[in-house]
């Protein structure tokens, strides 16, 4: 990776209104360009809002949709990650984040863990993605993991073992449980998780959360960029819109990996064998299916 300027657009998307959200994105992109940002990360489902329920098919787009043209054009000037409901072949709807760079969609990640418990109902409306991939960009090697994906530590491990120098995590986290020091109990969990991942996977972790309210649920913001020693490099405000800008330094990544060669020492073959054993013991099969072409 090279040294570059990263930003998180901590916005409050309008529920179910792609047009208004596109305008919100263009505003954020222009502000980022004025601050010489190289990569701008938007939250989960930034173009649609989160608690869509039966609106899912009505707001869905394909990754090639003309709706994204304006953002594709702007990606000549600043790379960006945007979230939307993707209509994939077979009319499967995914919670997707796309990496736009140089006028094209370079990569898409379809959320692999769809929370369906408590306040969440994603599996009712959405299909799960079946791939976790690091990918190369002009700025470095990255992986995208969406919100709940990151609450399953193997996803972050796979991303790092696949060479990701930055894990980008678009999120739409509704506050739950009253916190004593942070706004909510789950705020504290998120902060511990991303700092631990930065530390243990010796990579940058970019947590891009949203703000605003949907049906009384409050998205708490507090987006954060964590460095490869687990230190918090920058933190956005809680509960308010913000543009979090931070310079990330390739040297910091190198120094962290020299000091803590954890990735070098990772025993992937051992992990794989043991996972296969666990799967067999649970009566499953190690040949896990993906979600089809492009999944």
């Amino acid at each position: 990776m090279r040294r570059f300027r990263l930003a998180v657009a901590q916005i409050a998307p309008v529920l179910g209104d792609v047009e208004k959200n596109l305008a919100l994105h263009e505003k954020g992109v222009r502000e980022a360009i004025s601050q010489s940002v190289n990569l701008l990360v938007f939250p989960e489902l930034s173009l649609t809002g989160y608690f869509l329920k039966d609106q899912v098919p009505s707001v869905a787009l394909t990754a090639e949709a003309p709706t994204l043209d304006a953002l594709r054009r702007l990606s000549h000037r600043v790379a960006m990650v945007v979230g939307f409901v993707e209509e994939a072949p077979g009319h499967r709807f995914h919670n997707t984040a796309a990496y736009l760079e140089g006028g094209e969609v370079r990569h898409i990640h379809r959320k692999v863990y769809l929370p369906t418990y408590g306040i969440f109902d994603e599996q009712r409306y959405l299909a799960a993605g079946g791939r976790i991939r690091a990918f190369d960009t002009a700025l470095g090697r990255m992986a995208i993991l969406i919100c709940e994906d990151l609450w399953h530590p193997a996803t972050a491990g796979i991303a790092a073992w696949d060479g990701a120098e930055l894990i980008l995590c678009p999120s739409a986290s509704p506050g739950r449980g009253l916190g004593q020091t942070e706004p909510f109990q789950n705020t504290g969990t998120w902060e511990r998780v991303i700092r631990a991942y930065g530390d243990l996977f010796t990579c940058f972790v970019v947590y891009a959360n949203r703000v605003g309210y949907e049906d009384g649920a409050c998205f708490w913001g507090g987006s954060e960029v964590v460095g490869p020693t687990g230190a918090s490099l920058a933190k956005a405000r809680y509960l308010e819109e913000d543009l979090l800008v931070v310079d990330v330094d390739a040297g910091a990544l190198r120094r962290a990996r020299v000091a803590n060669p954890l990735l070098r020492d990772e025993r992937l073959d051992l992990n794989l064998r043991e996972l296969q054993r666990v799967i067999r013991a649970q009566g499953g099969t190690p040949e896990l299916a993906g979600d089809g072409p492009g999944g």
Partner: protein, 273 residues
């Protein structure tokens, strides 16, 4: 094992943000709130005045002839402290006119009628003034079903519905609701001398502890009994929650079509907002 303490600064921000956001999203600027003189409606009014400005909060005082005079006094204290608009509508003529046909009605029927009469006045002024009716029911009374369906439970938005009564008191102190209101015995004031705790048979501190464990922390009744809580009390609380479930849901619809409201026709309340 349970913790009902609030980080009041944060909760205040979240709730004022909620009021501001939900009111404006619905295309309004103001709210209508029925002030009873109690701590719940006082806190709702304080939060709304902070969120929308006092000029955008209209309080309606709706005493009945048997209401404790202290209730109206305390409601006026809230109005004057906040500098919000207010209006008094005496509900005695309409309530009494109705019960001349049913003179034998007991105090529960009379209390429910009063609560529903007040609801119709609030929603009428909602249309008159172009504002949303602000709810004042707290989580304790919603869970216990200690409220009148389509009466005091009716509102457009409710900032207090996820706060237990003891938490309402904490936040009320924090936002400086007058102490006399925060510290008095809670009462629905539907008949002379009524107090919530005498009617319910336990204190809010006692019941909030059990509710928090059962609802928020997902203890089973058996777990709480094993932990040494009073079995009769825990079972009584659980039964109240169960028995009042209907009050927290829309009326049940007989399903015949392929897509039934709230079963398989599911849109967010903020749909198109």
């Amino acid at each position: 094992m349970h913790d009902l303490r609030l980080d009041c600064n944060t909760v205040r921000r979240i709730l004022t943000g909620f009021i501001d956001n939900e009111v404006r999203k619905a295309g309004f600027e103001r709210v209508i709130v029925g002030l009873s003189g109690g701590v719940d409606s006082a806190l709702s009014a304080f939060l709304a005045a902070e969120a929308l400005g006092p000029q955008n909060v209209c309080a309606i005082l709706m005493p009945y002839r048997t209401s404790n005079p202290e209730s109206v006094e305390h409601a006026r204290l809230v109005v004057n402290t906040l500098g919000i608009h207010s209006l008094t509508v005496d509900i005695t003529p309409m309530v009494d006119a109705y019960f001349t046909s049913f003179p034998d009605a007991d105090h529960v029927r009379r209390g429910n009628k009063m609560a529903r009469e007040r609801m119709t006045i609030l929603f009428d002024h909602s249309a008159r003034l172009g504002g949303l009716v602000l709810g004042t029911s707290n989580k304790t009374e919603l869970l216990l079903g200690y409220g009148t369906l389509y009466g005091d439970m009716a509102s457009a938005i409710n900032p207090l519905g996820d706060l237990y009564k003891t938490q309402v008191r904490q936040l009320a102190r924090h936002v400086k609701v007058p102490t006399v209101i925060v510290e008095k015995q809670p009462s629905a004031d539907l008949w002379a001398g009524q107090t919530d705790e005498a009617e319910l048979g336990f204190t809010y501190e006692e019941v909030d502890r059990v509710l928090c464990l059962l609802v928020d922390q997902r203890y089973e009744v058996a777990d709480l009994i094993a932990e040494g809580l009073d079995e009769k009390f825990v079972r009584a609380v659980y039964l109240k929650i169960q028995a009042s479930q209907y009050k927290r849901r829309l009326p049940v619809i007989a399903k015949v079509s392929s897509r039934t409201i709230d079963r398989d026709f599911r849109y967010p309340r903020d749909w198109g907002r």
